[in-house]
Each structure stands twice: as structure tokens, then as C-alpha cells.
């Protein structure tokens, strides 16, 4: 039933110690910064961050040279008694992306969270938590044991929650409580699953479990519980009640971390679980359900993003939609043999995660600069901002273009890979979802850019200085995301696609124009705000033709918003959590 077990990687590989360092260095930074306090907090962060980046790059190089996963046995105890750390191409790619985002955020935050001789609360907390998020994420990325992953997930939650309520306003406190409670429910479900798995197989090591696990009813219960718990922590629709207020309410640098990186932690554990621990268990139904939830997230998140008044909330809802995008790889990876194949679809999904991490962090950073410059972030009040804050708007635009999937961005490569997988497995409906998702993304990016680029009759007074370094950090990060298509992915992910061949030519042009035109239409139709393009006199005729459509679309948007209001109430969200757990269990049982 299961593929024959290859020899267990029961020895430490030569460069395995790098994995230990990738965890120990940030954690050491947390401890040192906490003890030293005062202005040393920043110095410690400044010392640790380049070091951590260097370690991530070294892991990348070591992995592409060795061609096999890096392994480290902690305390020299082999699993199942001991705990192993492992890094494959997926972990290495995510490690590098995490390091890059953390670096950019650190540069960006330097102005907001400057330290002085006497200790101030917010900078002290922020710098320590930044390092803590990093240490937790690295542990998640290289952890080879399900319980170690649990501790790391909790570490991540404990670092993320105070970031949400860093400025102490009542709304952010409420958001933080909601986030904490829901994340705790998620981790309890995950822990339930680990207890059952230990009872079944006497190990929690990922590689050992993947050899021993079978489609028994008990293991399916565990799989369903763990999956659902992790979905709650990832905020996949309909378990997203905590995400928009938490991500939009936090300070910009913290939002960049939360939206770009923190949700990827639990997402990565789901990938590990489904693709590595139990590729044979989920079956067709469960993968389709996961994809369907993703599709619903894309529609809900994008439509709600288009209806937001404020830029940061728009970006938060965009995160909701993009999380949905990440889950489309699960049905596409499911092939005729009944297993989740680690092929195109997995590579595409991971690339999407990397490119979303960089682009979304850059977007929040740009939005933060705009907020700091204008003193507000109402989208309809953005007219003329491109003239006074050109760099911030440019960073936002680049990040938006990268998210839209315009070549050569990582998202475009990811989309190609996923479309390829859809063709190969004959699941055309996911191709439709992918294209629609691209258009919807374009819609809200275009909406913001249209307002930001529109001319203003009033002159805009900036409320604060605009540090150039801050904008440069956002810009560089956005460019990273935009140029991900040029990165040689072959050694890390199995990317068979020749990524640099067709940047120009009619096919590429059509691929570019279709989502853009569709997106503009959707932006005009779905956004309830007066559109700067349409409201000018030249477009009067078009407006009259469009009006009935617009009204229908607005009604649809209102409906979505009302539905979201219900789903975002605690009882509804937690009931759907349990319902999903049972549904996943039932679908897996049927498949088994």
C-alpha cells in the first residue's frame, strides 16, 4: 500500500549544524536583548540579523551542493527517541525568504522603533519579538518532529500576539484576544492529533511516520484534527475571523511580519503534513474540499478588499484572498495514483508562498509609509499621493504587480506551474479559479493605484518626515518579489519549467493583458467608491451603460459583506471549525 521505505536518514549530515545555528542564533538574540535592554536591544538585533541571513544563505548553498536533505540529530539521539532537524529544498527556500523579509522589515522599522538611552516599551518589545518570530519560523521550517513543531507554533503565536497589540488601543487589544484564543483552539486540535498519532505509531518523527502511517480510521481522525487546527492558525476561509482586525490594526512593520511570514508558519506545517507525513491519506475529496475553501477565500477576500475604505484593511483582506491561493495546490497535486505528488503543484504553491511573503510585506510597509505621511490611509483620500510620496507608491505598485502575477514575478511562475498541473491532472475548474483570482488581485491593486495616481486639486501637506531608507526597504523587497522568476529554482524545488524563455511575444502579452483588463473591469464594477477613472466627463456614456451591472455587482458585494459579518462572529467561526474537522474526517474515511 505504501511505497517501500528507504533507509532512514539516521545520521547527521556534514553541514547539518547550520540548522541548529539557524534556530539558536535568533533565540540567543532574544535572550541577550532581553537581559541587556535599553539601547542594546537594537545593537543585538543589528548583530543577529546579518548573521541569520548569512546562515540562511549558507544553508541554501550547502543544500544545492549536497543534493540531499540536510539532517541534524539533536543530542546525537536518533528518532524515534530523539529529535531530528531536517532541511529540504522547501525549507531552504522558505528559510531564505524569511531571512530576506526580516532584514527588510528591520531596516524599515529602524525609524519607527528607534531606541534611546532610557528604555521605551514599544521598541524593546518589537525588536525582541522580531527575533522571536524568526527563531520560531526557522524551527518550524527545519523541525523534523511533530511535537517540536507544536512548540514552535506556540512560540510563533506568543511572538505574534503582542505584536498585534503593540500600541495598546482597545481595538487592537480586542483583535489580539480574538487572535490568541482562536490560535489556541487551533493548537489544541493539532495537539490532539499528535497524541493519537503517538498512540498509534509510537513516534512523532516526520520521516518515520511517513513510513508507518496507514489509512486506518484512527489515523484519519488525527489527520483531520491536525489539518483543521492548522487551518485555524492559517486563517483560511471560513476560519479568518481574527485576521483582518489583527493584521490591519498592528503597526506597519508588525503587519508586514504577521501577514508576510507568520501565517506561512502554520501553512508550512500543513504542507509537511499532507505532502510528507501522509501523502496517501487525504484522497480526492479532502483535497478538493481544501481547494474549494481556497477558492471561497479568494472570492470573499478579494470582494471584501474592494469594499474597504482603508488601505491597511484592504491589504489585510488581500492576505485573506492570497492565503486561499496557497491552498489551490492541494487538489492540483493529487494525481491518479491516489497520492499527493511533490511535483509542479507543490513547487508552484511554495513559490506562491515565497512571493506572497515578500510582496505582502512590501505592501504593508508602503502602506505604513503612506499612513505616516498623510496621517490617514483612506483610499478615496489618496489622490495626489504619488506626487508627494513617489517611492512609497512605487513600492506599492511593484508589490501589487508582483502579486498580480505579471512576468517575471514569482507569482507568475507559480501560476504557470499550477496551470500546468491543472492541465496535467485534467482539473480545468481550478484553472478557472486561478485566472479569476489573478483578475481579482489586479482589481484591488488597480483600485488603489488609480486613486493614488489621480491628480489632486488640493496640495497635500505631509504630517511627518518620510525617511528615504524606509521606502527603499519596501522598494527592494517589492523588487525581490517581482524578480523571483529569474532565480534558478531547479536545485531547490522541482521546477521543470523554463522560466526565462517567453517574456516577450504575443502569448506573454495576452497573458499580461487578460488579467489586467479583467481586473480593471472588476474594480469598476465591484468597488462601491466613486472611481477616479470613471467619474471624469469623458466616460459619461460608458458610465450609463455600466450602471445596471454596477448596481448588481454592488448588491453582490453587500451580500458577501453581510455573510462575512456572520462568519466573523465567534460562535459561527468556531462551529465551522468543528464542522470542517468532521468533514475532513468523513471525506478521508470515504477515500480510505
Amino acid at each position: 500500500m505504501l511505497p517501500p521505505a528507504p533507509a532512514l536518514d539516521a545520521t547527521t549530515t556534514p553541514s547539518g549544524f547550520l540548522l541548529v545555528l539557524s534556530i539558536v542564533v535568533p533565540v540567543m538574540g532574544v535572550l541577550l536583548a532581553f537581559v541587556l535592554g535599553n539601547r542594546y536591544v537594537r545593537s543585538v538585533a543589528c548583530a543577529v540579523i546579518p548573521l541569520g541571513l548569512a546562515i540562511a544563505v549558507t544553508i541554501l548553498v550547502a543544500l544545492s551542493q549536497s543534493k540531499s536533505p540536510l539532517v541534524y540529530l539533536l543530542g546525537a539521539w536518533p528518532p524515534p527517541l530523539g529529535v531530528a532537524l531536517r532541511a529540504d529544498g522547501l525549507s531552504a527556500a522558505m528559510l531564505a525568504a524569511t531571512a530576506v523579509v526580516i532584514c527588510a522589515v528591520a531596516v524599515y522599522a529602524d525609524a519607527d522603533f528607534s531606541v534611546t538611552a532610557t528604555e521605551i516599551r514599544a521598541p524593546f518589545t518589537f525588536w525582541i519579538l522580531l527575533l522571536a518570530v524568526w527563531g520560531a519560523l526557522n524551527t518550524i521550517l527545519v523541525g523534523g518532529d511533530l511535537f517540536t513543531l507544536y512548540v514552535a507554533l506556540e512560540l510563533l503565536t506568543f511572538a505574534a500576539v503582542p505584536l498585534v497589540s503593540l500600541d495598546g488601543r482597545p481595538e487592537t487589544l480586542r483583535a489580539a484576544i480574538r487572535y490568541l484564543l482562536f490560535a489556541l483552539v487551533g493548537s489544541v486540535l493539532y495537539l490532539l492529533g499528535t497524541a493519537i498519532l503517538y498512540g498509534l505509531y509510537g513516534t512523532l518523527d516526520i520521516v518515520l511516520l511517513s513510513h508507518w502511517i496507514g489509512a486506518e480510521p484512527t489515523s484519519l481522525v488525527a489527520a483531520a484534527l491536525m489539518t483543521t487546527g492548522l487551518l485555524a492558525k492559517t486563517a483560511l476561509f471560513p476560519l479568518h475571523l481574527w485576521l483582518p482586525p489583527a493584521h490591519a490594526g498592528a503597526p506597519a512593520a508588525a503587519s508586514a511580519i504577521l501577514s508576510g511570514l507568520v501565517v506561512k508558519g502554520s501553512f508550512f506545517v500543513i504542507v509537511r503534513l499532507w505532502f510528507q507525513v501522509m501523502p496517501g491519506l487525504p484522497g480526492f475529496g479532502a483535497t478538493q474540499l481544501l481547494g474549494a475553501l481556497g477558492a471561497a477565500a479568494i472570492v470573499f477576500g478579494s470582494v471584501l478588499a474592494l469594499r474597504q475604505e482603508r488601505l491597511k484593511l484592504l491589504i489585510a483582506y488581500s492576505t485573506l484572498a492570497q492565503i486561499g491561493y496557497l491552498f489551490l495546490m492541494f487538489p492540483l497535486a493529487f494525481d491518479a495514483s491516489g497520492y499527493l505528488e511533490s511535483g509542479d503543484a507543490l513547487a508552484g504553491g511554495l513559490l506562491q508562498a515565497v512571493s506572497h511573503a515578500t510582496a505582502k510585506a512590501a505592501m504593508f510597509m508602503a502602506a505604513g509609509s503612506i499612513y505616516a505621511g498623510l496621517g490617514h490611509d483612506r483610499i478615496t483620500g489618496l489622490h495626489g499621493v504619488a506626487r508627494v510620496l513617489p517611492l512609497s507608491v512605487l513600492a506599492f505598485a511593484f508589490a501589487g504587480i508582483a502579486l498580480m502575477g505579471v512576468q517575471p514575478s514569482g507569482a507568475s511562475l507559480a501560476k504557470d506551474l499550477l496551470l500546468q498541473a491543472a492541465t496535467k491532472t485534467g482539473q480545468w475548474w481550478w484553472a478557472v479559479v486561478l485566472q479569476t483570482g489573478g483578475m481579482l488581485t489586479t482589481a484591488y491593486v488597480v483600485l488603489v493605484l488609480a486613486h493614488a495616481l489621480a491628480s489632486s486639486d488640493k496640495s497635500i501637506a505631509l504630517t511627518g518626515p518620510a525617511p528615504r531608507l524606509r521606502d527603499m526597504a519596501a522598494l527592494v523587497l517589492a523588487l525581490c518579489s517581482l524578480l523571483l522568476g529569474f532565480v534558478p529554482w531547479e536545485p531547490l524545488l522541482s521546477v521543470p519549467y523554463d522560466s526565462t524563455s517567453s517574456f516577450f511575444g504575443p502569448g506573454a502579452l495576452a497573458k499580461l493583458l487578460l488579467p489586467v483588463l479583467g481586473g480593471v473591469m472588476l474594480a469598476i464594477l465591484l468597488s462601491p467608491w466613486p472611481d477616479p477613472l470613471v467619474s471624469s466627463a469623458r466616460w459619461k456614456v460608458a458610465t450609463r451603460v455600466l450602471d445596471p451591472f454596477r448596481r448588481t455587482c454592488c448588491a453582490f458585494g453587500g451580500l458577501v459583506q453581510r455573510g462575512n459579518g456572520v462568519l466573523c462572529q465567534w460562535p459561527a467561526a468556531s462551529i465551522s471549525l468543528l464542522m470542517l474537522a468532521l468533514l475532513f474526517g468523513a471525506l478521508m474515511l470515504v477515500a480510505a
Binding site: G168, R169, P170, I177, L181, V188, N564, C568, Q569
Partner: protein, 113 residues
């Protein structure tokens, strides 16, 4: 029915109880108590698993025991953090209401930059 099975069923029931309380109790502090109940059910499940794996010389498999001790510490820290958040919210607003007046997120004030 052996004692281990009894406690295994007890653990499952405690988990169910915890979920019910967590969903239906409107007060955040009660949700936190329900979470602790839920957590104790999960830990008991580990205990039952460990007890089943007992061999001569050890009454209970030490690995699940160690996992539970780690888990209890994490759950306690979570409780402390949640309560600190609640108390702070109470201090600033005089209410521990978790929902905003309109749907969450849409009605909140401008975010910090």
C-alpha cells in the same frame, strides 16, 4: 472495561465539554477556562496513550509524560497572556466585549502607521 479505557473516554468527554464551553460561553474569561478544560482533556489523552505503552519497570511511557509537562507549561503561559490582555482591555474600556459594534475590522478606528 479497564481503568485506562475509562480515563480515555473521560479525556474525550472533557475535550467535547471544552469545545462546547469555548463556543457558547460569551464571556472571554469563561472561554479561557473552557480552553483549560479542553487542554486537560488533550493531556489526559497523552496520559492514556502513555499508560497503554507501559512496560515492566515504568508505569507509564516517559515520552508522553514529558510532552504533557511541556504542554502544561505552554497552556499556562497562554492563559496568563490571555488574562493579561483581558485585564488591560478592561482597564482601557471597562468592558471585555470581544466584538466591535459593526462586523469586526470594518468598524475599527484608523490603524497606527
Amino acid at each position: 472495561m479497564s481503568g485506562v479505557t475509562v480515563f480515555g473516554l473521560c479525556a474525550a468527554a472533557a475535550v467535547g465539554l471544552g469545545f462546547y464551553g469555548l463556543i457558547t460561553n460569551p464571556q472571554p474569561l469563561r472561554k479561557i477556562i473552557a480552553f483549560n478544560l479542553l487542554g486537560s482533556g488533550v493531556f489526559l489523552l497523552f496520559g492514556v496513550v502513555g499508560r497503554r505503552g507501559a512496560v515492566a519497570g515504568t508505569g507509564n511511557d516517559p515520552v508522553p509524560q514529558a510532552l504533557v509537562i511541556t504542554g502544561v507549561v505552554v497552556a499556562f503561559s497562554a492563559t496568563a497572556l490571555a488574562i493579561a490582555l483581558l485585564l488591560r482591555l478592561f482597564q482601557t474600556t471597562g468592558s471585555t466585549k470581544l466584538s466591535n459594534r459593526t462586523s469586526p475590522g470594518d468598524g475599527s478606528d484608523p490603524a497606527g502607521g
